[in-house]
Every structure is written in C-alpha cells, then in structure tokens.
Symmetry: C2
Subunit: 277 residues, 2 copies
DNA sequence: TATAATAATGACCAACCAGTCATATGTCAA
DNA sequence: TTGACATATGACTGGTTGGTCATTATTATA
C-alpha cells in the first residue's frame, strides 16, 4: 500500500483514541511497522499529517450531507433524510469525527484551526440550503436561529453516538429530531441567532475556488488515479470545465461517478457547487 | 494570600487559555511568582491541583443552577430563570467552564474523568427536577428526551458564549430557549432518549453522602473559616444535623447564609438536598 | 554485474516535562 | 544570640517528545 495512505489510516485510529497530542510519532510508526525516519519521508511534520487527515476525511462527511440535501426530490422526508445521513456519516467516519470533536475546543495548530472553521462553514452552508429548500422565505427572522439549532442538535447527538458505546437506533433519532426541528420552524418566534451574529462568528470565508484552481485540482487528481471509470469521468469533467459542451444531466452523472471514489469527495463537492447542481 | 488559593486562581486562568496539558508547572509558578518547589508544598501533583480546581469551582455553577430551580416560587418564569441563571453562571465562572468544555472529550486523568461524570450527573438531576416541577407527570415518555434537549441547549449555547468574544444578550437567549423548550415539551411526541438510555450513560452514581460524611465535611469547613455569620450558620447546621430541632424555615435561612461564601457552595448544595429543601 | 538513485533505518539531538531534594532563607521562642 | 522549625528555592533527574541525518538496504538502469 501507499505509505502515505498507510500512515494516514493507522494514525487516524490512534488519534481517535487519544487525541493528537496524546500520540507520538514513535507510536504511529510502531503501529505502522515502519521506522521513524520513514514517517518524515511522507510528511514534513506531525502537523502536516494532521492537516492531511482532516482535509481528506472531513470532506467525506461534508459531501455526504450536502449530497443528501441537494439531491432530495421531495421535501416530505428531507429533514429525516438529512439527519439520518448526518448521523450515518458520522458513524461511518467515527474516527475522524471523534478527532474533530476532541480538537474543536483547542486546536493545537493554526492550520488545523483554519481547517476546522472552514469545515464548520461548509456544514452551516449546507444547513442553510436545507432550511431554504424546506421553508423558503416563510421563516424570515427565524432562519439563522433555526440553522444554529439544527447544527446544535447534530453536534449534541453525534457526541452521544460516538462516546457511548451503545447500539443506537439512528432512524428513531432522526425521526425524533425531524419532528423537533419542524416544531421549532413552525412555532418559535423569538430569534437569538440573527444573520449578523452568524456573520460575526464566521472568522474565515470559504473562498469559492476559481475555474483555474479547480482545473489544477482536477489535473492533479487525474494524475494520481489509476485508469478507471472515475479517471475517465474526471477527464471529461476537466474538458467540460474549460470548454462547456455537455448537457446538465451528463455533468451530473459524471459528478455522481467520481463521488464513488472516497478520495474524490472534495472534488465532487466543489464541482457540484461550481456547476450549481 | 493563601498560597494554595493563589496557585488555584492563577492556574485557572492559564488552564482556561491553553488546556491542562498545554500548561506546565513551571509556567504556573512563574505566573504566580513562586518557585517550582513551593508548588509541591501546596499540591502533591499536577493532577491534585486540577481535581481541586474542578471540585471548588464546579460546585459554584451546580449550586447556582440548582438553587434557581429549587427556590423559584412561580412556574411562570421558571424556564427563563433557569436558562438565565445557567448562562449567567457560566459567564461568571467562564474560566472553569472553558476548562470543563475543553477537557470533557479527553480528560487526561481518571480522577478528573470521575469528577466530570459526577458534575454531569448533578446538572442532569437538577434539570430533571426542573422538568418535573414544570410538567409533573404530563410528559411521561418524553421526559428524559426533554431533559437531554435542555442539557444540549445549554452546552451548545454556553460554547457559543464562551468562545466568541461577542457581547451577547443573555436575557434574549434565555427567552428564546424557554420558548423552544416549552414548544418541545408541549408538542413533541417521538422520544429518542428514554429512561433506560439515560441510565446506561450514567457511568457513576453520585452517592448521596451519609449523615456522618456530611457532619465531617461541616466540621472541616467550620475549622477552615474565620469567625463570621457563615461560620455560626455552619455550627448551627452541624448541631441540627446531629439533633434535629429547628423549623424548616430556620434551616433554609441558615443554608442561604452559607451560600454567600464562595467556598461553601458544595456544602450548601449537599445540605439543601439532605434536608430536602 | 556494476553503478546510480531511491527508500528505509534508528541512534542521536535539543527542548521540554513532572517531580525531587540538598540547600538557603526567614521566623519564631528561649 | 542561639537553635529549632517551617518555608522557599532552583539545579537536577529521568523520561518523553518532535525532528535530523549519517548510514545501510533495496531497487532500477546500464
């Protein structure tokens, strides 16, 4: 296996158990069965590993949730599906989620801090899209308040799922929260979180990447991948980016194709936003 | 000033900024203007300092909240008052609250872990008392679900208050949450957190102290205190504990007296429970 | 097979840590 | 003034850390 990949996957387990500062490079290399020096051939420092981890795995969760919101056809079960996807994804990627929760309150590194703020912003944008899809302009001044509540629900119950080793009925939880959310949306009238307050807490604007940046990212991914449907899809999307010609349905299909590859989630997410799918 | 007290107060600031593991004994002693050796005259180890901190300051918050619930006369504004007290108290003791939030997900020490579980349990008990006072048996199967939601609200918004340095209208926040809570209590029907689920997550039962333990604790506090109304009150309560004679109103008054002393909050809380006030 | 290039090793380094202890300073009473 | 006791000091120990680098092993090329 790719050594970089090996280190990332093994260290993820350790970090989830003991937090970043609780795991030494020595422990990681022992666990991987490699030497300490070999580690530094793959990563310049411990921080770089951590940032790489967050980058890679974080996007898988964001993409899962965002995809479920953007691709739901009926509004009937949207709330339920949203919560279900969110909890399902946090369980599937429980290691990285544990890390995100653990390090959230004192990220030991500037880079890491920025990644986490960026992550938070993406999730928030998805929730905003969800709320707008469901309630349009009905909510008005309660909109951002509701968004923050939903985010709070997800955080609170994710923590419950991850830190108590009890088998839990996610479906029930999602129904319960969907009901609660719907209640709050329809009846609450005193907003605490306003648009202004939410802006202030932003900290970092997740800049939309330019067409050129996207093209470069695609180029890079293409060179990394083996020949496969995903590679072909990426190449077609790369062409489409530079010279638009395909119909929307085709583009959407291509983006769906690359979503299947776990390390193309970020690209998939960015393209979906770029092509406004 | 008492050296032990000095160390506790100064180190609290540092810990709140950087977390327990981010602060060395050397940094603490430098910040206090004492030598490293002097630290170990007051505390056997770093852990002991941390446990002492949690013990002392944690109870101040628990007592504040518990007191507001147990002493409210009308149910009209109880929810609002409860939230207001909770947020007011977390702001007043922002340093210790930051520590509690930061260390919650990976307490670096068994003792600390137990303290935190104990703390969580006390808060939960207070919320249960709140819910029962407000809704009695009406809620039935939604009771524990509501309790968990309330706890979630407090955590979510405490984090918001403490980690964004924005001036915030706690009163508005409390009204907003009181409305939300009331909505959930009256209309939600799908419980996720059941009594069983809440039991499982307990981990540690906060054992009610026996009469003898309480008496010892009182004795100790009495010897620590200077002559004052508080000391007198403690002595009277100590007598009352061994040979009941006073009327409830008098006992209640005495307990109120000792609440005024910041380091008698725990005693006050325990006595209030013992005498079922 | 010989040579060059790349991958991997682990002893080593400086920095930091919690905790110790011989020594020094201050403070009483006799 | 003396001596006994409590208080305070900071150099020191043993251990861990992230990170380096001269050396060795492996692979590719010719």
């Amino acid at each position: 296996m790719n050594k970089k990949q090996l280190i990332m996957e093994k260290s993820l387990e350790l970090f989830a158990q003991k937090g970043f500062e609780g795991v030494s490079i020595q422990q990681i290399t022992d666990y991987c069965g490699i030497s300490k020096g070999a580690f530094y051939l793959s990563f310049k420092s411990k921080s770089e590993l951590i940032v790489a981890l967050i980058d890679d795995f974080m996007m898988q969760i964001v993409d899962d949730i965002d995809h479920s919101v953007k691709n739901s056809t009926s509004n009937e079960n949207l709330l339920y599906e949203f919560y279900f996807t969110a909890f399902h994804s946090t369980e599937k990627h429980s290691d990285i989620t544990k890390i995100l929760i653990k390090e959230e309150t004192h990220p030991f590194n500037k880079d890491l801090l920025h990644k986490m703020i960026y992550f938070e912003e993406l999730i928030k944008n998805t929730i905003i899209a969800l709320v707008e899809k469901l309630y349009g302009d009905e909510l008005k001044h309660m909109k951002y308040d509701l968004v923050y509540c939903i985010r709070g629900f997800i955080k609170t119950y994710s923590q419950f799922l991850l830190f108590h080793q009890i088998p839990v009925d996610i479906s029930l939880l999602s129904r319960s929260l969907a009901e609660k959310t719907s209640l709050l949306a329809r009846h609450s009238s005193i907003p605490f979180i306003t648009k202004d307050l939410m802006e202030v807490t932003k900290g970092l604007i997740p800049e939309e990447p330019t067409k050129e940046q996207l093209a470069n990212l695609l180029e890079q991914k293409i060179s990394e991948l083996e020949n496969s449907v995903q590679k072909e899809s990426l190449e077609l999307l790369s062409q489409e980016l530079l010279e638009p010609s395909l119909q929307r349905a085709l583009i959407k299909g291509l983006i769906e194709n690359i979503r299947l590859h776990p390390h193309c989630k970020e690209i998939s997410y960015l393209l979906r936003n770029y092509f406004k799918m």
